[in-house]
Symmetry: C2
Subunit: 399 residues, 2 copies
Amino acid sequence: MTTSFWLRNVRPYGGDFEDIRITEGRIAERLSARAEPVTGSDIDGQGQLLVPALVESHTHLDKTLWGLPWRPHSAGPTLKDRISNERQILRELETPISERAGALLEQCIARGSLIFRCHVDADPALGLKHIEAMLALRERYADLVDMEFVAFPQAGLVSHPGTEELMNEALRLGVEVVGGLDPCGIDNDPIVHLTKVFELADKFDRSVDIHLHDAGELGLWQIDRIIAFTERYQRQGRVMISHAFCLGMKNWSEIHPLAERLVANRISLMTTAPADIAIPPFAELVGIGANICLGSDGIRDAWSPMGNGDMLERAMLLALRCGMRKDEGICAAFEAASHHGAKALGRHDYGLEVGHPASFLLLPSETLSEAVVARPAARTVISRGVVIARDGCLLQSRL
Amino acid sequence: MTTSFWLRNVRPYGGDFEDIRITEGRIAERLSARAEPVTGSDIDGQGQLLVPALVESHTHLDKTLWGLPWRPHSAGPTLKDRISNERQILRELETPISERAGALLEQCIARGSLIFRCHVDADPALGLKHIEAMLALRERYADLVDMEFVAFPQAGLVSHPGTEELMNEALRLGVEVVGGLDPCGIDNDPIVHLTKVFELADKFDRSVDIHLHDAGELGLWQIDRIIAFTERYQRQGRVMISHAFCLGMKNWSEIHPLAERLVANRISLMTTAPADIAIPPFAELVGIGANICLGSDGIRDAWSPMGNGDMLERAMLLALRCGMRKDEGICAAFEAASHHGAKALGRHDYGLEVGHPASFLLLPSETLSEAVVARPAARTVISRGVVIARDGCLLQSRL
């Protein structure tokens, strides 16, 4: 039996009222809203703003302490301090990933994210523990969300023997993306690091996502090398550089040639819109056609106690960070948490076009800008045609 | 008849359970929580975290567009563009201040702020309109909140004839504080500007609060001059410099001597923790004993569509801005939205000591840091012993 119903009286992106017919979880038809009353199994959108469900392009669910008693942040100030502090905490943690990551995932879903890229630690000290737990978690929520994984060498790929083999095994088990991390600053052997990353991507025909915290000229040189590897291994459109603070540390005139090569190779950038460090120059990059998406990164974990998984709030933080006060800029920040994320993750069926999954966020907001500014708690999440969350709560928790 | 009751089972600042006796709207007694059940007119705090009500040290309620249809931001990029754009909008706006500012004030109260410093435009083009409307608004909410006003020469004090006379009249009518604005960058005559400001403060025996957006050396020179005027007019402990981006634009070693003189003269600083411009170095300044408080500045107005008046969120933004992840830093950010604000505004009866007003915020949070990070919507606001707001809504709206 075909299930088909109408989602009535919604305003896509804050525009005119429409009725949307949903068949088998997909958008079957879009019409101007009709005058007759809503009846039967149809849903009344009550004039709310409709957008596609949000995209969380970078998070680390496996590391979260969500749902546990408050744990004061205890790491030293450097990146290496944070890595070693976290390894200690994760080794001692007794609450299973299914509980911690599950609780956080439900929070993220309830705030409207239905597409995720999650980095999962591939660390010989942890073995396959995180990878297997996250694969099981994905199974448990497979009917609600689309989630892809990155095999992430948090402690170093070259510097930690056994990591490459573990990443190989993770990819074999179904992890989609090959991760990397500061080929210079953490691994201290950039060419060997990048060779291993791109060889794995080539072997399994996968995408690449590299964390790059290294600053200034050191970061920029690595971006240049990542572009060269992307060309050599023909990974165009399948590489993401996460953070890339260095792109915000020089004048645009110095960055521009490198940025043009990122665009030419369709390499996406991911930012969390941090307020305490430089970020890639958003408006300039978007202006030349770069694809910049948004992620929460760690949410209440050993790296930082901050974050709530709300990608609408993340878009607001990006607008604040870049001083974007006009509707155009605020909507561009929303794009980073939606369409740009979907593009970076290679999802071609994202958006409100007929035929695409009926995965929506309904907001009691007047305009898209107002939704980003106000981040209303009263929101309704629809996944593949089914209402799954209201007012910040998943209707049927699986914890 | 004396009204007296117990607020039972609360955790001040997240510490041990206490019972607090409230008599005539003030804290009469604090005891370790007793085991017996809550009865009669006593209130069960249910183990929630208790903090003093929040302090909004810098806002412009008279300018807000809160409650009106969404208005896309329309100003050009410079400070002068924004001033002239706003003057045009405010002149044409038909919704009275009582409605706009009242709606926003109720939002701020419901989020837990009960002490306010509001800047009110003193602009010959507006006459006494804003000042009289805000004085009437204050009367309407006088039983709920403490609010003080700054006569604010938004368009310029020296450059706009009639402004000084209007400020004089505002002070005579009951406005408490003499405002100023970029003596160099806007008024183009710093010594005449500061002389007028401090002469008015001297004449009425009032405090001073100067908006300082000017950058780099130009801003720093004006801070030096404000300190000199503070000394000459003996306004120690009664001067605030708002924004002071310039203090974040140089190395601490260059700023340090000036900062020591700010401390010696007990001049407070106010920041909104903006993410798109430099801010005064918070940790270093607090470390030498400077008093830095937090404000929302404009909330959804012609300057910016951002903001929601939640000072707990403002503290979170400050922690994000300064990379403060540890409990100590997050709690310092909270201090800026509470005790430091009260100190800047010269309120000596602020806090949880016996004898002080029973004006509290109750939060379903485990620790103070967690409250700042999570900013729970479910919060209870108590003003002078009376529960006036729950879950983000004022119980009895006066609109």
